[in-house]
Amino acid sequence: MPSTFVIQEILKIILWGTIVVLFISVNALFLVWMERKVSARIQLRRGPLHVGPHGLLQTIADAVKLISKELVFPKEVDKFGYWLAPVLVFAPILSAFLIMPLGKNWIIRDLNVGFLFVFSLTNISFIGIFIAGWSSNNKYALLGSMRAVAQNISYEIPLLLSTMGVVMAAGTLQTSGLVAAQKGSWFIMTQPLAFLIFLCASLAEANRAPFDIPEAESELVAGFHTEYSGMRFALFFLGEYTAIFVSSAISATLFLGGWRGPLLPGLAWFLIKVYALVFVIMWIRWTFPRLRSDQLMGFAWKILIPFAILNVFVTACMIQFQHFFK
């Protein structure tokens, strides 16, 4: 019966949607807490301590504060764009959870196009960032969004090129297939260069230090979200932390064998790998100064892209070579 099918699908959407949103919120709260703790330990501090055990409830208190704030439209902003931008930044990132294999058969939709789908959708969030900067009617915000667009265009190329090697080696774009292909050895072993390029490019895509030039607070006050406050600001924040999680999850799936691992269940392994990568990203942020925008572009075009192309070339040769001798 088609009607039962429709009802089933709707229920499925609601169920998965709720789970994903719930997970994202809790995850973002946890990541903010983790970032505070990691940065504190790196910086000879102790971080939040007083609200809840080890300050775990601190971020919840902060979230409640942000939610309870009045939603302000600053004077002379473009209201529609200003309203739309945070949603546009946050929503596309959710799409990544659709194809993420969290464990054996733990996948919402095992799409044929897999990662291509995620990369094409998450790019929409940069349009959101540009709208945010443009509609804010603030020069700092505009400068921040200008930088964001330039950065996105430059780093999208090495990001995709670096995954190309993995996809070629696995022979599929499907995420379950990619994990299955890493049964023997993880792709980080066979594609170390691709992993490094992917890590750099995904840091830039997530606007994380040392590539955080769109929101460089010492230069542009707060960059593209200078004029945002309350829950709208929280959406940008949520988007940023979810993007970190997603890019770590993609790297874990592509390069670290996804949910595969001995003894523990798949989900546990998956989360361990993701949070280990998140830790590395935080570690990098709290160690390095920020690049300048032109240096950032130079890094993408002069270093990452040539090496990514080299990686694709070498991988292709290896595959051809393999066939030749078999």
Binding site: Q43, L143, A216, E219, W286, T287, R290, R292, S293, D294
Partner: protein, 545 residues
């Protein structure tokens, strides 16, 4: 380059002026070799001559006497102190003087300040506007005739003026090539500050931008002006001490030192050896603390958060140590004429001894974390170069000058206190870029630590005060300068023999150093602006006074 000797300068000046307008001075007391009163018409010629001889304009100020306004120029050279004092007289009726801003770029701001405080009009000055007081004010507070209460600033009026100010900057550039091309609408103006994370206080930099590229930038100061000079005029000499801690709150000890040296020279007194040792000890510790704060905030400007906390951790230790002696953590008010406020407590010496090895290890950490970081090097090398010529024209001093390859440090060039007996180097670097300025400051911390370790075991015993001293300074004019953390801090004192200073001019180093930024900004990106601004190490309360 051959520089004129003292005698040559003298002969050259004597050709220009009458012999009775030339007075030899005792440099030990007054800080200047001679004083010459030059006719107004010849001051530009004199200034040109000094620039040709590679003298820099150390200070330019005015003193209001009953019969006329005296404009006082102090020229000094990058070498053993050869300070000369040149004056012009401005009659009250005309109230105009020729500007030397086209000769010495540093005179631009100095002359604006004189206009601001005394109302003297400098003819041919490119931009004679108020600099420290708001443009809406109609007072000239340093004139002796100024008595009344200042009128409260009218907010609406001030806002209007701020707008006019911004418009004025736009119109100023209407004539230039950039805006003549009306189709080219890419360029715009951006106010960096007064509220901005990286201006280190309330500084406003009006940037003219093309995309992210800076066409021109102009610092606008005066937001934290408290008028220390006026305050000190209406206090007695002892009452001026707290002002010294509040000029540059990051390196306040050097400012204490400057005032102590000035008045002691003028009175002709010699502090006991214990006092001298403790003064140098605390000043050098404070210099380390100041440089640490700079490194932390500078790296923060570049987007690295972590060094900030390490620097503040070390600085905290120094503040703890200095707190033991002074009871204060920031705005020190510790020195007294011929002595100190109180002796150091016995627990301070072991605390310093514990600090020295700890800090040495930390310096290695900074080296590994910052100096060897490739992103840091790429961000700072070859950026914001101050050439020697530019440094001379702007009167740049301190680490910013030494990063341009000039070994000019008043602790060596115009020795005071026990510095001649101490073993330390003056680090210099030829590049003159942002990285060189960073490097100089890290090396200076090492040198200061060396001084501290030399003194710590050899603090002589004895009194820390000279007992009762006269309450006034003998009639005369005095100039004295010390090496503060940011450059040479000079005080020009005119005493009429009464209990209050007749006129005190505070020559603060960052005032001249910040002025030099106008030459460094064009061509930078916005990211570089904060790096360049951070690299010259400005403390706004010291600039605005």
């Amino acid at each position: 380059m051959p520089t004129l000797t003292e005698k040559n300068i003298k002969n050259w000046l004597l050709e220009l002026i009458k012999p009775d307008e030339f007075n030899e001075k005792d440099p030990k007391a007054s800080g200047v070799l001679f004083e010459a009163i030059v006719p107004q018409s010849k001051i530009r010629e004199v200034a040109k001559g000094y620039l040709e001889q590679h003298y820099f304009l150390e200070s330019l100020t005015a003193v209001d006497f009953a019969e006329c306004l005296e404009i006082v120029y102090h020229f000094n050279q990058w070498g053993p102190a050869q300070r000369s004092c040149v004056k012009i007289l401005v009659p009250k009726e005309t109230n105009t003087a020729p500007s030397i801003a086209s000769i010495y770029k540093s005179a631009n701001w100095f002359e604006r300040e004189v206009y601001d405080m005394f109302g003297a009009i400098f003819t041919d000055h490119p931009n004679l506007k108020r600099i420290l007081l708001p443009e809406s004010s109609d007072i000239f507070p340093l004139l002796k005739s100024f008595k009344g209460e200042p009128k409260g600033a009218d907010v609406a009026q001030s806002l209007k003026l701020i707008q006019e100010d911004a418009d004025g900057f736009t119109t100023q550039y209407k004539d230039t090539v950039i805006l003549q091309d009306k189709k080219n609408s890419k360029d715009y103006y951006l106010n960096l500050g007064p509220q901005h994370p990286s201006t280190h206080g309330v500084l406003r930099v009006l940037l003219h931008l093309d995309g992210e590229r800076v066409i021109d930038g102009q610092p606008i100061i005066g937001y934290s002006h408290r008028h220390h000079e006026k305050m000190m005029e209406i206090q007695n000499y002892v009452g001026c001490w707290p002002n010294m801690g509040r000029l540059d709150y990051v390196g306040a000890m050097s400012y204490n030192f400057g005032y102590a040296v000035l008045v002691e020279k003028a009175m002709g007194i010699q502090p006991p050896p214990r006092v001298e040792a403790i003064r140098v000890l605390t000043t050098e510790l404070n210099r380390i603390a100041s440089h640490l704060l700079w490194i932390g905030t500078f790296l923060l400007d570049l987007g690295a958060f972590t060094p900030f906390f390490y620097c503040f951790d070390d600085r905290e230790k120094i503040l703890d140590i200095l707190e033991m002696a002074t009871g204060e953590r920031l705005t020190y008010d510790y020195f007294r004429f011929g002595g100190l406020d109180k002796d150091i407590p016995p627990e301070m010496v072991p605390a310093i001894k514990e600090f020295i090895p700890r800090f040495k290890a930390r310096l290695r950490d900074y080296d590994a974390l910052i100096t060897k970081n490739i992103i840091f090097r790429k961000r700072t090398e070859g950026l914001g170069i101050i050439s020697k010529e530019s440094a001379l024209a702007y009167g740049v001093t301190g680490p910013s000058l030494r990063a341009s390859g000039v070994a000019f440090d008043l602790r060596r060039n115009e020795p005071y206190s026990i510095y001649p007996e101490l073993d330390f180097n003056i680090p210099t670097r030829a590049e003159g870029d942002v990285f060189a300025r960073y490097w100089i400051r890290t090396k200076e911390m090492e040198e200061s630590l060396k001084i501290v370790s030399q003194i710590i075991d050899k603090i002589p015993a004895g009194e820390v005060t000279l007992g009762k001293l006269p309450k006034n300074v003998p009639k005369g004019e005095y100039y004295s300068a010390v090496e503060a953390a940011r450059g040479s801090f000079g005080i020009y004192l005119v005493s009429d023999g009464s209990l209050n200073p007749y006129r005190i001019k505070l020559r603060t180093p960052s005032f001249s150093n910040l002025n030099a930024i106008g030459d460094m900004l064009p061509g930078c990106l916005v990211s570089d602006v904060v790096a360049v601004l951070g690299s010259i190490d400005i403390v706004l309360p010291e600039i605005d006074r």
